[in-house]
């Protein structure tokens, strides 16, 4: 089990090495996508390799800031910095959808300052409502056509369904691993769980599926260490992977993370896309019924509820109850506006349900580790 985990770690730590190697062997095209929710399946169906661009927590931002403001999340600033520094020169193109304002506006700056042969912005509606369906369908078709043109490969509905099936397999295995984590806490560290998901976005999915199947078969639930830690759900920190050091710090203070909603985690593998019928319709359905996210807007009448809730808050509460967790560790990614705005709704609901929580601001690089340790330890002492 340790050998496979080491492989996942290695891929996550050297994210673009695998992609550069793939390019040499396959002579195919590599399209970099930005978190979150880009329909990588369509890129896969076009015979290209989708690779998610996360930025680098250890590399100081030196070039990126002269093109845009600094009060943006690290993920966007860093990935732009790496682009300008040539770290992404193996890419043939970049694609992203409008997950938030930062990504949306920065994409335009990127296109101006560092044009690539293929640069595709997909409009994703923020509002999850029937009236948004036609726009989404149109945008998915536009992406499909653009990829066909760029790669020179036709994408038939069957090919796309096939790609969807491969990704569904991947998600199913991740769900299985996540359930094992809840049933047998400590079986896999939170940091390793993040590595498993992150690495899937960096290498061909078929290859990752093989590795993940190997990991699952290597897990022996009869030989597990007894773990006496308090069960918690980790919430927040969208887009890039939360740092190992932070997750390890949380789990070293007597807590164990039994579920999370990170993009490089729970929310990535929660739902599958229907792998039959019209694949575009299936994708539209998938987006319309997405795992609640702070980047979406919901139907207008949610505010009329007496509890003034948010679907995102309910989703987290549901995880806490299903996972029989004692509380929530909320990772507030710095400068993430959608999450920041959602936080108040989340904490109000957690207070109503008497679910204890602690809020930790996350930033890149070493950060204030002792301060974080104190907060986590104080939270644990209060449970």
């Amino acid at each position: 089990m340790e050998k496979v985990l080491a492989r996942f770690r290695a891929i996550s730590e050297q994210p673009y090495q695998s992609a550069a190697e793939w390019k040499k062997l396959n002579k195919g095209k590599i399209i970099g996508t930005l978190p979150m929710y880009f329909p990588d399946e369509i890129i896969h169906a076009a015979g290209a390799l989708p690779v998610t661009l996360f930025g680098n927590d250890d590399e100081p931002i030196t070039l990126g800031d002269k093109h845009m403001m600094t009060n943006a999340c690290h993920q966007v600033r860093s990935s732009f910095d790496l682009l300008l520094k040539g770290h992404y020169d193996f890419l043939d193109g970049i694609a992203a959808l409008h997950v938030c304002d930062q990504v949306r506006f920065f994409l335009e700056v990127w296109q101006l300052d560092h044009p690539l042969p293929f640069f595709h912005e997909m409009w994703r509606p923020y509002k999850l409502h029937d009236t948004s369906r036609p726009l989404l369908a149109q945008e998915l078709k536009r992406l499909l056509n653009a990829l066909e043109e760029f790669t020179g490969n036709k994408i038939t509905p069957d090919q796309l369904l096939n790609s969807i099936a491969i990704y569904n397999q991947s998600r199913a295995m991740m769900r299985q691993l996540n359930q094992l984590r809840s049933d047998y806490p400590g079986i896999i560290s939170a940091a390793d769980m993040v590595h498993v998901v992150t690495s899937s976005m960096l290498i061909p999915r078929e290859e990752h599926n093989q590795l993940l199947a190997e990991l699952l078969s290597a897990i022996d639930t009869t030989q597990l260490p007894v773990v006496n830690r308090i069960r918690v759900v980790a919430a927040g920190h969208p887009c890039d992977p939360p740092e190992d050091e932070l997750l390890n710090l949380i789990e070293e203070q007597g807590l164990v993370i039994i579920d999370d909603d990170f993009f490089t985690g729970g929310r990535y593998f929660a739902e599958d896309i229907k792998a039959d019928g019209d694949p575009i319709d299936a994708l539209v359905d998938y987006y319309m019924n997405s795992t609640p996210c702070s980047t979406y807007h919901y139907a207008d009448d949610w505010r009329r509820e007496i509890t003034q809730t948010s679907p995102y808050a309910e989703y987290i509460i549901d995880k806490v109850k299903k996972g029989q967790a004692a509380g929530v560790v909320i990772l507030r990614l710095m400068y993430c506006d959608p999450l920041d705005l959602e936080f108040v709704l989340l904490k109000n609901r957690l207070n109503q349900e008497n679910i204890p929580y602690v809020s930790i601001f996350t930033e890149s690089g070493p950060g204030a580790f002792e301060a974080t340790r104190t907060r986590i330890q104080a939270f644990m002492e209060s449970l």
């Binding site: 207070n351 204890p356 204030a368 002792e370 301060a371 104190t374 907060r375 330890q377 104080a378 002492e381 209060s382």
Partner: protein, 256 residues
């Protein structure tokens, strides 16, 4: 059972010795690099006041920022939990605590058993902490202990616009150059600290709490307590020795 609580803060190290009758003694010293040596010294000073020796101590709880650096501590507990225990001992009916230390400030909500329910900390920035007053006192060339009394003499309200401790220092210098009265500057500094701390308190939703307990070294400044009372519209209670409340809480928890 004799226990010791030691609070190793960024600015000062405090020790409390608690005996079986609930009597306690305490000692405070500036913090430094050699945490174990300072720790030993400050504990010895507190023990001496009760005529006790280290051999008679059953348990030592270390808290504060330097707690992991004391090899002879029996156990480490965060300053949040210790502060709650200390306040609960002094004011059993307290539910809301504001602790303003040398380099951090905290707002803590506790339940009727003295257990922490919610907390918020500011330790990324010196604004709203003792450091702010220390730097300002230096700039005004007065003793930091005199600032409270000086501020009470203020006749004109001015506002220090810079929230950053470092930039506020420059602002104070320019105010002095414009012949602004020391008392007015001092009063503005107090308002600045309390405003920062108010934000911290609000973040833990204190609608129902009737009064606030103020602890930490800065609580020795009566002007801060009075201003907090006025700005929050609630009674502010200050323990007799607010700087050692956390260390006292640590000594109490050492009994468990």
């Amino acid at each position: 059972m004799i226990t010791v609580g030691i609070d190793i803060g960024s600015t000062t190290t405090k020790a409390v010795v608690l005996d079986e009758n609930g009597r306690y003694s305490w000692s405070v010293q500036p913090s430094g690099i050699d945490i174990p040596a300072i720790g030993k010294q400050v504990i010895k000073n507190a023990l001496d006041k009760l005529g006790l020796s280290l051999q008679e101590v059953s348990s030592i709880v270390a808290t504060g920022y330097g707690r992991i650096s004391l090899p002879f501590a029996t156990k480490t507990v965060t300053e949040i939990t210790c502060n709650a225990a200390g306040v609960h001992h002094v004011f059993p009916e307290a539910t809301l605590i504001v602790d303003i230390g040398g380099q951090d400030s905290k707002a803590i909500k506790i339940n009727s058993q003295g257990r922490v329910v919610q907390f918020a900390m500011n330790d990324k920035c010196a604004a709203g902490t003792g450091k702010f007053l220390e730097v300002a006192a230096q700039t005004l060339e007065v003793n930091v202990d005199e600032l409270g009394a000086i501020s009470q003499e203020s006749q004109n309200r001015i506002v220090i616009s810079n929230t950053c401790t470092v930039f506020a220092q420059s602002e104070i210098v320019s105010l002095i150059a414009r012949k602004t009265a020391k008392e007015d500057i001092a009063a503005a500094l107090h308002e600045s600290i309390v405003s920062r701390v108010l934000g911290l308190i609000e973040s833990i939703d204190p609608e129902l709490e009737k009064h606030i307990v103020l602890t930490g070294g800065v609580a020795k400044n009566i002007a801060i307590a009075k201003l907090l009372e006025r700005m929050m519209g609630r009674t502010v209670l200050v323990p007799d020795n607010p700087q050692i409340t956390t260390a006292l809480g640590a000594a109490i928890l050492a009994r468990d």
